[in-house]
Symmetry: C2
Subunit: 466 residues, 2 copies
């Protein structure tokens, strides 16, 4: 321990300690290394690697990526070459702000040592929720978060005798695993306890998506809503799941994808304020309530730019922005991250589903008086042979006429159009302004009046009438 | 003639006369028919059909669309059922504002009659420029604008002996015809008199596009810049083109695609003010300088939202918006069309090229002090097997930090990202605001930091430094 203190104080560089190594942590490291800020960076992670795309795991399982190493964005050596120290298999067990130090435990030896910091960044991310289901510790019951989780699941589905799978949870990750399993010829049951899968969409959109997924899948995919798993059965390894409505489903493996929770316990223990869903509360400079302690990535609370409420929407895209913002402020410059729209996208076998801003459901919950239009149109000129349907739902504040959100899905290009709306929402545009947007047009790319503008025109006409 | 006057005055409905039937004219008709405005609509066109997608003609020639009738958006009957009268093969030869009448000539019989209007809409579009090249009237020399042009070209390339073609002009239409010809196994020479094809892009981007097109085309496509055609040779039909630098190119057909000019002569003759490139000058309600005369579509001048200058960018997407605006104002309601960004897109065999706002070249011409970033990145997570390169160039006002324009090209998704920038430009966003945009992310759709945001970050860093 004394050694360490000595090492820590051997020069006058600012000591930046980063806890967590998947997305925001490496981003902070990279950004600090590129700046002129004189500092010594030490990044600690309990894993045996850093900087990997956990979002890519479903596509590794699907088989689109052979080598899991390809999901690694940056290797420790890439940081070490530039002077940062990356400490693998080292877990932070305690933050002691009064002494500006953290306790770091070696995950193999169990030995704990003190590490002093001038500035600390908490980028501990989130972890899967494991519901208290009977026999949840049977073999072949997985969650998907870390690289090794993906490797374990892929190994299991590659076994010849693996024919059936159960996915618990119908959110984004659930859908992505569903696609991976379906593409690997498994018969899959998805069980969602809510009345609708993808509850971040409005219910009628979720239902259209569900119907499309089942249609595409030729009877190999079964989606059960309004039911939940109460127990797993099997000796040693899982063989059956039992639902609360009494369904008994034979299976060779189970993936639990019912959501995540922020890894914020060590922050809380240190007196750092938590916010929505126990995510770490930060200001728009990524500063916690304790001086010199920053946080970024999946473990922090978000400010929602439309609802103007705090929320928790952990996404890789935000983690990068927050990491950048934290690094700039840590280095003594100024940067502010305004907040999120909750923009997200996923796909299922050619079906894209995407959204930004508030759904109708959420907008009403936040007290907006809303007007919406939902429209299904071709994504390209109707006479083009590859024209495909997309369905777009726009949600608009009826009184201020501001765009609040957009949802889109379909076999056509439903994703980038949502970004076009995101850009308008970010700039606080009204539907009247938006419907004049000069969007690119050529028959292979859109209709002369883009589906987005058609949806906007419908709302405009409705407001006129109402 | 007396008959006609009688017919025109037999009731008290407002008489709306529309001249021109391709895009803006039918749009005005459709919008008026949907409104509660009591009017009699008479639309006159010199063609034998209305409401077709001339933008679709290259794809008909390419063979993606078998039946040219599929390019027809609405048939005269669809309007006539709802009470509008569509007059085919009727050319407007004169507008007499003092008497609120137009002269309409039957293109077959030559008979001219008077038609009175309460409100007149000029939607006469544009026509191809035919340069004064020697022997330009030889057979198998085409332009592409009307449906019949497309049919004629397609018939020619379907002849077994058609092997070689020359396209004069390297703009959008030229590129689209090039794709159609290349896909039909012709050997094609494109001749562009400027130093670069696609002169609406910045030169270095044009050159990258040119290189990509030639690379893709396996020696079947030859692009000649900085040269022009001085004469055609052949007896009866074209056999050779001769360029000003003395190149002699054998060919079976020629398409002239050197640009278009507005059909504004009858407007000018009537005392209607013209603007940039002789396009009809209108205000933002689509009103000309003469009371009760409106204009919309390819024949009108545009206001550019970034340069704040008048320009002429005739596009089908704008024609629809202008038609809608004209109809609302004709019906006595109020609508204003703010202007255009010049957003456009085309493709060549999987290569997308797209832009919005001002190029660096244009921005400098208008006196902006600009900063740019050009970046080539994968359009999806690099480990996805279908990730493709896109190159994005952002142009930003260095002092006000406003985004002025974006250009993008590549085999990846370069089009919709340009629309995301268009939305930001429309809302007058700065690069600092834009780089915080919450864009959707999932590995099959983008990188965790989208290429657009990477380009924005580079500019942001440059501004910091400079």
């Amino acid at each position: 321990m004394d050694n360490n203190i000595a090492e820590n104080s051997k020069n006058d560089l600012q000591k930046i300690v980063i806890i967590g190594g998947v997305a925001a942590g490496p981003k902070i490291t990279a950004k600090l290394l590129r700046s002129n800020f004189a500092c010594q960076i030490d990044l600690y992670t309990e894993e045996d690697m850093i900087s990997y795309s956990s979002c890519g795991l479903p596509y590794f399982i699907e088989g689109l990526i052979e080598d899991p190493q390809r999901l690694i964005v940056r290797r420790p050596e890439q940081f070490e070459e530039k002077g940062a120290k990356i400490h693998l298999n080292k877990r932070c067990t305690k933050i002691i702000p009064e002494e500006k130090k953290v306790l770091i435990q070696d995950t193999k030896s169990g030995i704990i040592k003190e590490v002093f910091y001038d500035k600390l960044a908490i980028t501990t991310g989130a972890r899967p929720i494991i519901p208290p289901i009977e026999n949840v510790h049977l073999k072949n019951i997985f969650t998907l978060r870390k690289l090794q989780d993906g490797i374990n699941i892929k190994n299991k589905i590659k076994e010849k005798e693996t024919k059936k799978a159960v996915i618990i949870g119908g959110g984004y990750i659930g859908i992505e695993i569903l696609e991976a399993f379906y593409k690997n010829d498994l018969e899959v049951f998805m069980i969602e306890q809510n009345p609708h899968i993808l509850p971040i969409f409005d219910p009628e959109i979720s239902d259209m998506i569900k119907e499309s997924i089942v249609d595409i899948s030729n009877g190999k995919v079964h989606i059960i809503t309004d039911d939940s798993v109460v127990s797993f059965e099997g000796k040693d390894k899982v063989e059956r799941v039992i639902t609360s409505k009494g369904q008994i489903i034979d299976t060779d493996l189970v993936v639990i994808a019912v959501g995540v929770i922020p890894n914020s316990e060590i922050a809380k223990d240190a007196g750092i304020e938590l916010g929505f869903k126990n995510a770490i509360r930060v200001n728009n400079r990524m500063q916690t309530n304790i001086k010199d302690i920053y946080a970024a990535g999946d473990c922090i609370e978000n400010f929602h730019l439309v609802s103007k409420n705090y929320c928790w929407i952990p996404l890789g895209s935000s983690a990068n922005k927050e990491g950048r913002c934290a690094a700039i402020n840590i280095s003594g410059q100024y940067d502010a991250f305004p907040g999120v729209l909750g923009s997200a996208v996923t796909r299922y076998d050619g079906l894209t589903m995407s959204l930004t801003g508030l759904t109708e459901t959420d907008a009403k919950k936040y007290g907006f008086e809303v007007i919406t239009s939902t429209m299904t149109k071709k994504d390209k000129a109707g006479y083009m042979p590859d024209a495909e349907n997309i369905t777009i739902k726009l949600v608009v504040d009826k009184r201020l006429r501001k765009i609040l959100g957009a949802q889109a899905f379909g076999s056509g290009d439903a994703d980038k159009r949502v970004n076009t709306v995101a850009s308008a929402i970010m700039a606080d545009q009204t539907i009247d302004e938006f419907l004049h947007l000069d969007m690119t047009y050529a028959p292979p790319f859109s209709t002369a009046v883009d589906p987005l503008l058609s949806a906007a025109l419908v709302i405009n006409n409705q407001i006129f009438k109402s």
